[in-house]
Each structure stands twice: as C-alpha cells, then as structure tokens.
Subunit: 210 residues, 2 copies
C-alpha cells in the first residue's frame, strides 16, 4: 500500500508517519522509483503499537524507541525479553532510600518471589513507598500485603495469557500488556474504591433497586 | 517558623515556596511587619502534599490545584469527597467508544458494583480497553476478570484503611492513597510478572537455593 492508505488504515497523519520514518521508529517501505515506497501489514502493526504507547501508555518517543528495540531484539531468551521490555518502560532515574529498598527486599523474600537482585523494579517500588513516607502517610503493612496479593494474581494472569509460540508476537504482547494493562488496572481500582465507599458510607446507588 | 525554616524542613527551595504562595497553592503565612511572615505545621504538611503529588503522582500544578480544592472543600459528604478527589486526579478529557462503555457497564452490573452511572471512571476504563483494541491486543475477558477481582481487593483494602474520624485527615489520606498508591500497585505488578515469568520459563534465580 502507499503511504496515503497506511495513513487511512492507522488514522495517523502522513506528516507524522514521515516523521517516524525519519526518526527510525518505523522501518522504511520498499522503494518504488525515486520518491515512492510501498508499505505492508507490518507497518500498520508497528504504527498502531507506536500510537498506543504514546497516546495510551503516555511514553515519550525516546522511550518508545527503547521499547521497540526490545521488541526487535531477536537473540534474547523469553525471560530476558520481559526484563528488557520492563527496562524500556522504566523512568530514566529512580531514587530510593536504603530503608525502603530493604523493606522491599524483605517483602519479596517473605513471599518467596523470584526477582533478580539487580531488578530496577525493586527501586521503583521503594521509590513509591518513599513518596508515601515523605507525605506523612506511610503505607501500612497490611495494606501493602493486600496490594502484593492482588499484584500476584494480576502478574500470574498476565504471564499465563501471553501467547505461546511465535516469539515476536509474545514480545509485542508483553510490551503491550505491561504498558497498557496498567491503566486498565488503575481505572478498575478507582471503580472498586467507589464501590467500597458506596457500601461503607451507605450512599444511595443511582440505579433503582428492584 | 520563617520561610527559611519551612524550606529546610520540607526540602523545597524558598523560590519555589514563594511561587506556590503567589499561585495560591499554599495559604499565606501570618504577616509579621511588611515583608516577613510566619508559617506553621499546616504549611509543612501542605507543601509535602504538593511535592508528593507533583513528583511522585506526576500531576501538573493545574491538576494539583484541583486536588487541593477537593481537600479544602468542607461541605461535602465523605462519599462525595472520594468522587471529588477522583475527579481532580482524572485526565482532562476522556474519549471512549460506545462498545467499550457498554462492556464496562455490563462488567460492573455482572459483579454488582455500586458505581454511579455518571462516574467518569467508566470512560477511563473504556478508554484503556480501547487502547488495547486499537493495538490489536484486545483484553481477554478472563484476564479482565482477574484484574477486576484484584482491583476489588485493593479498593476494599484502600477504603477500609482510610482513617475514620477527622474529616480533613480522611480527605487528605484519600487523595494521597489514590494518587500515590497507584505507583506502588504498578511496581508490584511488574515484580509479580518477573516472578511469574521466572517460574514459567524456568529462569535460574540469582539467589543461591539452600
């Protein structure tokens, strides 16, 4: 297909597609003559992934570049791919207090989670706990345990639902579900809080009861 | 305390404090003479809340202003306060397809969740589902159910852990746990995915086994 059709199918403006091509985010099409190129389904798919990461995942183009590099890296083992996809989705620098890092280490040990000692996600969690400490609302251990058990269910379900077989498909699915599953979970948490609050404070539901 | 002490206790630069005062995010201190003012613990607390929302919650100052308005609103009932705090933390516009909005409505009905028909969080969830549809990885119903059950545990635990009694304290805790609990949950989900992946793909843990 020509670039106009690629634009129509993906709802991405032609100027934006050309920008992604110049920036190397989108592979070049097959040249036809000096000024035209043909594109295929792989371009449609890649463009949709870029847009989803930018618009729904809230990633910068620099971050998207890192994620795509993880998707395109062919030589890694599946478990390493998850690490690479996770790494590309991380903030650039994560500061965490030694106290919170230790709390995270003990939490993971207590629950027997297999997480590499060098995983930057330890610092990501410690940093989030530090933020609550700083604002004078340290996260209660019981509440943290509730979060952990809920996260375990979600993480198990995420990994169980990754497509088995085609490696490229699995990698893309890993990136997509990690980046775009988060907003689903957070939106559900807000709805769940409203439900819990309605039950606790006895708000009258808008729906008439039969 | 003088502004220098306020800056020292909160680690917020004096110039930034003055900016927040001019912008009305921080209430004025008690004037002492023409050019000096005294500040108290309420200023320390408010500054820490602003910094936590900006640095850890990733909120813009305009969004922080909305959250603080919800915190300061005295006349609302507790359940309405949760709605106001949630509303202030929402993106400015949320687009969602009618199909996903209907899927969300059915999901909430199926599980008997008490959520107002007008809650913008319905659109927030539908928007997140749309993003997965667009990128060609629609969220499987089984996986969505896993997310929902995990979110229910978290939402129940969140609301059960809100301090009972002092209203201002409860409102602030609601805002803080909604804004800063999200990053905790997402970091735990990443760690849980790594644990699940290590078990599924048989990666050798870095810790030596006894």
């Amino acid at each position: 297909m020509w670039i106009a059709e690629l634009s129509r199918q993906t709802e991405v403006p032609v100027a934006t597609i050309k920008y992604y091509l110049r920036e190397g985010l989108l592979p070049a099409g097959e040249s036809v003559g000096a000024t035209r190129a043909r594109y295929d389904e792989s371009h449609v798919r890649r463009l949709r992934l870029i847009r989803a990461l930018v618009e729904s995942g809230g990633l910068s183009l620099a971050r998207v570049r890192g994620v795509l590099a993880a998707v395109d890296e062919e030589s890694q083992q599946m478990h390493a791919v998850l690490g690479a996809a996770h790494g590309a989705l991380l903030p650039e620098s994560i500061e965490a207090s030694p106290e919170s890092l230790e709390r995270v280490g003990e939490l993971l040990d207590d629950h027997g989670w297999l997480v590499d000692d060098q995983s930057p996600d330890r610092a990501l969690l410690a940093n989030a706990l530090d933020a609550l400490d700083r604002v004078g609302h340290p996260l209660d251990s019981t509440l943290l345990d509730s979060y952990l058990m809920a996260a375990e269910q979600v993480g198990d379900a995420d990994v169980a639902h990754l497509p088995a077989g085609d490696r490229a498909e699995t990698v893309e699915a890993t990136v997509v579900i990690t980046a775009l599953g988060g907003p689903v979970l957070l939106a559900l948490r807000r709805l769940a809080q409203q439900n819990a609050s309605a039950r606790r404070y006895g708000a009258v539901p808008t729906h008439p009861c039969p």
